[in-house]
């Protein structure tokens, strides 16, 4: 958690945490996993929207507003708390789309799409990922060809979070080879959404097929061919949220694994008294604090639209993405056999972290971005 939260942010954090504890404890998460197609009841998401979960990245003129004047720093508080409780809900896709509309949308686009998104009535998602370079801005290959004044989109996107629940999408495509983003309604002719399998119990994904989808020029977000900075910006927002989520997960899991080590006795001593285990906890504490630190630094750089954001999100994602799964598996090891049972909650957290690690660039992908930020020449020698 940010050690420098303002009083308002601290109150916001408490409100969010209490709401999550009350409405979606892990027993409820397990229940919703079974019986809720979206992973959560629609009314629950509307209540979350009422707490501000959907409006932090949107300007006040458009009906949004932040707690601290730094919307992303408020939003990562929610992402971190949702990580702690493996909460469901399309926090990432809805906020990325809301930011896209607020920052790049025309008045008409904002009037049409934002009110329902902010109130929680509608869900939307961002279609970035394709085969090839999955989850990265550089991986956009879906073609949008001009037909008169219109654009025609054909191709396949996925996995798309909350794709089956979304009423509309922001779709990243190429027009004449240049990145361009479009607003696409889920019920537009030629759009086919198919539910996908996913590791997380309550986060849902889908594949989105676009077959000759005809869009007017008014569906372009910003200008045709000018999508590259948008896509990078939205990507950075998405990665900052993933990192906060993973940091929340490991902070929580380390904490209950430590409690377990105090309570569990073998050979007449608590596990926490064995130096071999104490030293592993020390390492995990170090990695967790480092993860919290780098997640926050990433969020701050993205919030400030700093030129270092490109590198900072990739530093955070590569570091946390590497450490978090190892920390969780070591926590399984410290729990013993109970840690690999369905009834124990550890796997809920592992599912969440592995998914966060995998989407929007793996640690490997992000290290390549760092190499680019360092301007390491891609051709050999001098």
């Amino acid at each position: 958690m940010d050690l420098e939260l303002t009083e308002d942010q601290e109150l916001f954090r408490e409100t969010t945490a209490k709401f999550l504890e009350r409405t979606s404890p892990l027993s409820t998460v397990r229940e919703w996993a079974e019986k809720e197609p979206a992973g959560f009841p629609a009314d629950w998401w509307r209540q979350g929207a009422g707490l501000g979960w959907t409006s932090l990245l949107v300007s006040e003129d458009d009906g949004g507003g932040s707690v601290s004047g730094h919307g992303l720093l408020d939003l990562v508080i929610v992402a971190e708390e949702m990580g702690r409780g493996v909460a469901p809900g399309p926090l990432l896709p809805v906020n990325v789309v809301a930011a896209a509309l607020s920052e790049y949308g025309t008045q008409d686009q904002r009037d049409r799409y934002l009110p329902d998104l902010l109130s929680g009535e509608a869900i939307a998602s961002w279609c970035l990922t394709e085969k090839g370079a999955p989850g990265l801005p550089s991986g956009v290959g879906l073609q949008a060809t001009r037909r008169g004044a219109d654009f025609v989109l054909t191709g396949r996107k996925g996995p798309v979070e909350a794709g089956a629940e979304a009423e509309f999408f922001v779709v990243a495509a190429l027009v004449d080879g240049e990145p361009t983003q479009f607003l696409v309604d889920a019920d537009a002719p030629g759009v086919t959404v198919t539910r996908a399998e996913g590791l997380d119990l309550v986060r849902r994904f889908a594949m989105v097929e676009l077959d000759d989808v005809v869009l007017p020029a008014a569906a372009v977000l910003g200008e045709a061919g000018a999508g590259a900075p948008q896509i990078e910006r939205l990507f950075e927002l998405a990665v900052a949220l993933e990192c906060a989520s993973m940091a929340g997960v490991i902070d929580r899991v380390l904490s209950f694994t430590m409690e377990y080590s105090f309570d569990r006795y073998s050979f007449g001593r608590p596990l926490a008294s064995y130096q071999a285990l104490k030293h592993r906890f020390a390492d995990m504490k170090l990695w967790t604090e480092a993860s919290l630190a780098t997640a926050l630094a990433a969020a701050r750089s993205v919030d400030a639209k700093s030129e270092r954001a490109f590198e900072f999100v990739s530093v955070a994602k590569s570091y946390i993405g590497d450490r978090a799964p190892l920390i969780l598996q070591d926590c399984v090891q410290l729990h013993g056999g109970i840690g690999v049972t369905w009834d124990h909650d550890l796997h809920l957290y592992i599912r969440r972290v592995v998914q966060d690690r995998a989407l929007f660039g793996t640690p490997y992908d992000h290290r390549e971005r760092i190499a680019q930020a360092l301007r390491l020449e891609e051709s050999h020698g001098h």
Partner: protein, 433 residues
């Protein structure tokens, strides 16, 4: 120990009324540096410059220039010759100073370990006698803590200080003091009482290093350096007014010294000025692996790119962790021992950095043409564990983190609460002739 009232805690207090605006300070520093400090040359790295200046003569001159210009001891209190500024001012100055030759050898241990400890526990007379001279570059200090008889179990030391009227008579030996041969004074921890448990019979003294009865020997290390020293004390008379803190309460002083040491070694000290990494196009941070990848012509190799990027990420995360822990300690959200977090991070990251450097160096780490960067990496690898040993080993840091941050049970200690003279301990070695 009422650590919340120590002098060095003031560095994180709200800036005093009238403190110079950060950006104004930065501009003033930038202009002053350009006019007064010698620019770094391409041919020698800051590290090489430091090795050339074996006796610290150059460093003292450079520090004097900083002092005369009002840019020395930025975070030290004004009443002792400092500038009473904030960490942010120091960070800005360090950033601005990167293109210039700086007296980096004074940073550790003089500025970041000994001076802050003296500030916290020295008498008013001691502070006025020494801190202004430290800040002006006149005095270099070291710590006389570790002994040949024990490293991690510092409190079992056996160097003896026996009261004799107005003086204490010091006998024994200290080791691993860095640069003692060129330093002027030391803080020395010695046993003054043997019939009490080990922590309660220690006293901390200010010791003038170059005087009859003290012999300083340099120790040759695996990388060829002779920075570390061993000292032998033979009936050295120390005036009683040189006691720092209370007689038999030296452990309190040593604990604080170790706190400052962890901060210094982990990179979190506000009292250092300037950095070795310099400042390239990528902000402050070391660029040796980028240079190495370029030197070996392998920047396009995906494996090489991954390793360089991993190291870069580790370095940035380390800096971000320091900010977090420093903020946590200063706001009371983290306990003081949290400094062990960035100390352990820095050490494990240094190990990884060496491993990556060795991989990138390839064949050149084994045999090389004179001046090749790859060869330097081979030699540096020999000292890979240095950072994990100095300032309390990684294993001690893990004990501290688990016991004093996470609250896990303390390790069993056979000497707990026993008078030291009833505890089995190692003897002090006799001096080699």
């Amino acid at each position: 120990m009422a650590t919340d009232r120590l002098d060095t805690d003031r560095v994180d207090a709200a800036p005093a009324e009238g403190t110079e605006d950060l950006e104004a300070f930065r501009m003033r520093a930038r202009a002053w540096l350009a006019d007064n400090m010698p620019p770094l040359q391409e041919t020698l790295t800051p590290h090489q410059l430091m090795l050339q200046d074996e006796m610290g003569t150059r460093a003292r001159e450079l520090q004097r220039i900083l002092f005369d210009g009002g840019f020395a001891g930025l975070c030290f209190p004004k009443e002792y010759g400092g500038q009473g500024l904030t960490r942010a001012h120091q960070a800005a100055f360090t950033h601005e100073s990167a293109p210039y030759e700086m007296p980096l050898v004074l940073n550790v241990p003089t500025f970041s370990i000994l001076a802050p400890t003296l500030l916290d526990f020295g008498t008013e007379e001691q502070k006025r006698a020494h801190i202004p001279k430290i800040i002006s570059g006149e005095e270099m200090w070291v710590q006389f803590l570790s002994e040949p008889s024990g490293g991690s179990d510092l409190a079992s030391l056996v160097t003896r200080a026996t009261r004799d009227g107005d003086v204490f008579i010091l006998n024994g030996s200290k080791i691993w003091s860095s640069g003692a041969f060129r330093a002027d004074y030391a803080l020395c921890l010695a046993r003054t009482e043997w019939h009490v448990p080990k922590h309660r019979g220690l006293t901390c003294f200010i010791v003038k290093i170059h005087q009859p009865g003290i012999e300083v020997q340099q120790i040759k290390m695996v990388n060829g350096s002779s920075e570390f020293c061993q000292e032998f004390f033979d009936d050295v008379a120390i005036p009683a007014e040189n006691v720092v803190g209370e007689v038999n309460d030296g452990w309190t002083v040593a604990t604080r010294l170790l706190y400052h040491e962890r901060d210094a070694v982990g990179g979190g000290s506000p009292y250092t000025s300037g950095v070795f990494g310099g400042r390239g196009e990528h902000g402050s941070g070391r660029t040796d692996l980028i240079d190495l990848a370029r030197a070996t012509g392998r920047t396009g190799d995906s494996h090489v790119r991954q390793l360089v990027a991993e190291s870069r990420a580790n370095d940035l995360v380390g800096a971000q962790l320091i900010s977090r822990v420093t903020k946590g300690i200063s706001t009371g959200k983290f306990p003081g021992p949290a400094g062990s977090l960035h100390r352990l991070y820095a050490a494990t990251n240094a190990e990884r950095h060496q491993d990556i450097a060795l991989e990138l160096a390839g064949a050149g780490a084994g045999a090389w043409a004179e001046g090749d960067l790859a060869g330097e990496k081979g030699i540096e690898f020999l000292s890979r564990q240095s950072g994990s040993l100095g300032g309390g080993s990684n294993e001690m840091q893990r004990n501290i983190i688990s016991e004093r941050i996470l609250g896990m049970p303390r390790e069993y200690a056979a000497d707990k609460d026993k008078p030291f003279d009833e505890v089995r301990h190692n003897a002090s070695p006799s001096r080699p002739r």
